[in-house]
């Protein structure tokens, strides 16, 4: 059974999104970090950068692969996890907690409803996750 917190929303690209006081915190799922293996580098945007839903906002690199990170919602980056450059392993150890990546102030509140629920994401993974 995958670790898929019920209160979060998800993307087909294996990012999670969490609503916090009108903002959205973003990271990658437990499934994603398992598939990647040991994460060795995370490249994130600067605070103030604008991100667009379904477009790349950064890069996660593991011993196996380099993958783009996709924004679950559009908006402005208001916080970036400053621990990740030095401790990228947090993505593996605590993907929903200390391994978070960015916080976005959404520009379009309706985008949230387009994200997968935990149940939908679980079904998506059951179908193969592609």
């Amino acid at each position: 059974m995958e670790n898929i917190p019920a209160e979060l929303r998800y993307t087909n690209e294996h990012e999670w999104a969490k609503r916090e006081d009108g903002k959205v915190r973003v990271g990658i799922t437990a499934y994603a970090q398992e598939q990647l293996g040991d994460v060795v580098f995370v490249e994130l945007p600067k605070v103030g950068a604008r991100v667009t839903r379904r477009q790349s906002f950064g890069v996660v690199e593991s011993v196996k692969a380099v993958s783009d990170l996709f924004a679950p919602v559009s908006g402005e980056v208001v916080a970036v996890n400053a621990d990740l450059p030095k401790s990228p392993e947090l993505v593996n150890q605590d993907p929903y907690g200390r391994g978070w990546m960015i916080v976005i102030t959404p520009s379009d509140g309706a985008e949230w409803d387009g994200l997968l629920t935990a149940k939908q994401y679980e079904e998506f993974l059951a179908e193969g996750g592609h």
Binding site: F41, E43, K46, V59, E61, V66, D68
Partner: protein
């Protein structure tokens, strides 16, 4: 006519033409306008015996003026430093004698190790955290540094000091045309960067300030002041350096440089009429992900034994494709090997000695030459192994006259810098003797009298 060396016989040609349904090779060229086509065979003489051919080529080669047949005071980016004999012997070994990083690089531990040692020594010399496995030459290294500064800062303007080698500036301009980077230039009225002028040009849009020291005219720049100007604006400081000088001169990294590039030819690479040379490239650790070129890293295998690998390849285009931060996946491994052997052969003391001797002899030469009536140093201020002279006669004519006396007097600057049409750039390495310098001064005296 059947060729002895091209394995493509008339019968094979006919077979290939038959396959594609064409009667003759000329039929493939119908699209080329007839006036652009040669209607007769190439004017190549009949075959000669190999021994005759060698004699002819030797005679042609003997017409070259080179640093062995002439006394060389040429510089402007390439220098007649002594190349110790172990270099040629060692690079000629079959294990090393390739210009390329090998495919399946980890199978070639010896090659990777020499590159790792090269990177380590370059990083030490420049005072930087990391150096790459080398790029093509100083000019392409600078162009890559400019692109890297743009990527790091997400800014699109670069300020170049006028003292940066004008040929490098041309290469940078060519690289920057596509991505639309705006290049600006600071004046150097007294031979060094006008710091107040630079302060006005470097601002919130500036990705990098580029300064060469010693600069193209030979003058030493105030790297620390340049670093202050660049960093106050949030820009990177890129320093163009000649690593062979760094046995004596302070490492640019310790003066605030973020990226140090240079032409490594002086480190045991022969002049060879202009190349192949060695592009030195080193940067601060924080910038390594944006650094171009190959990187060799040290690691341990599963038994704990030391080994070498190509590292951070995810920056590179064969993995990241369009999103690569390094689009130059090759290096000049053989020239880097020459530099590695050079630095290892000379050691710390040797490199200091090369720098001290070059500087001392250059200062002696500057004194002797500027005593020639009508000849003067163009700029005041400190220089290292190269300096700019103002001549009372056209420098090109002086150069041509001294060439007949087997003296390569220097570089007449007119073609490179129109403001310095009456100037001659003179470089002096540790190879020059007092007698050679005295003879140069006497010959110069006669040439300008």
């Amino acid at each position: 006519m059947a060729s002895r060396y091209i394995a493509n016989t008339p019968r094979e040609q006919q077979a290939m033409l038959g396959t594609i349904g064409v009667a003759a090779i000329d039929d493939l060229l119908v699209r080329v306008p007839s006036k652009a086509r040669l209607a007769r065979p190439l004017a190549i003489g009949p075959a000669v015996a190999e021994s005759d051919l060698i004699r002819e080529l030797r005679a042609l080669a003997a017409r070259n003026a080179d640093a062995d047949s002439h006394v060389c005071f040429l510089g402007a980016g390439a220098y007649d430093h002594y190349v110790p004999s172990p270099i040629n012997h060692l690079i000629s070994r079959g294990e090393f004698f390739t210009a390329y990083t090998p495919y399946q690089p980890e199978a070639s531990q010896g090659t990777l190790r020499t590159i790792y040692e090269y990177q380590t020594m370059i990083a030490d010399l420049t005072g930087m955290d990391v150096a790459n496995a080398s790029l093509y030459d100083g000019a392409s290294s600078l162009a890559e540094a400019v692109l890297m500064a743009m990527a790091v800062t997400e800014r699109a303007e670069v300020v170049l000091a006028r003292g940066v080698n004008p040929l490098y500036r041309r290469v940078v301009a060519a690289y920057c045309d596509g991505p639309g980077i705006r290049l600006r230039e600071t004046a150097s009225p007294d031979g060094v960067v006008d710091l107040d002028g630079a302060r006005k040009l470097v601002g919130g849009k500036t990705a990098a300030l580029v300064v060469q020291s010693p600069n193209f005219y030979g003058c030493l720049e105030d790297i620390g002041a340049a670093a202050g100007i660049a960093h106050a604006a949030g820009a990177l400081l890129v320093i163009v350096s000649d690593p062979v000088n760094l046995g004596v001169l302070e490492a640019p990294g310790r003066l605030g440089a973020d990226i140090v590039i240079g032409e490594g030819q002086g480190l045991g690479v022969p002049l060879s009429f202009g190349g192949p040379y060695l592009g030195v490239f080193a940067a601060k650790q924080a910038l390594v992900r944006r650094m171009p070129g190959r990187l060799v890293g040290a690691t341990v295998d599963r038994d704990g034994r030391r080994g070498f690998v190509l590292t951070l390849q995810t920056r590179e285009q064969h993995i990241r494709r369009a999103k690569a931060t390094s689009n130059i996946c090759t290096n000049v491994a053989l020239c880097a090997l020459m530099a590695t052997i050079y630095m290892a052969t000379l050691g710390k003391e040797g490199l200091v000695r090369v720098g001290e001797l070059s500087a001392a002899k250059a200062h002696y030469a500057a004194e002797r030459l500027s005593q020639v009536p009508g000849v003067s140093l163009r700029f005041g201020g400190p220089f290292f192994k190269e300096f700019t002279l103002r001549l009372p006669k056209p420098p090109e004519r002086v150069v041509a006259r001294l060439l007949k006396q087997r003296i390569l007097a220097g570089v007449a600057l007119k073609s490179l810098d129109r403001q310095l049409g009456d100037c001659l750039l003179v470089a002096v390495t540790e190879k020059r003797t007092r007698a050679e310098i005295d003879a140069f001064a006497e010959a110069l005296g006669r040439a300008v009298a």
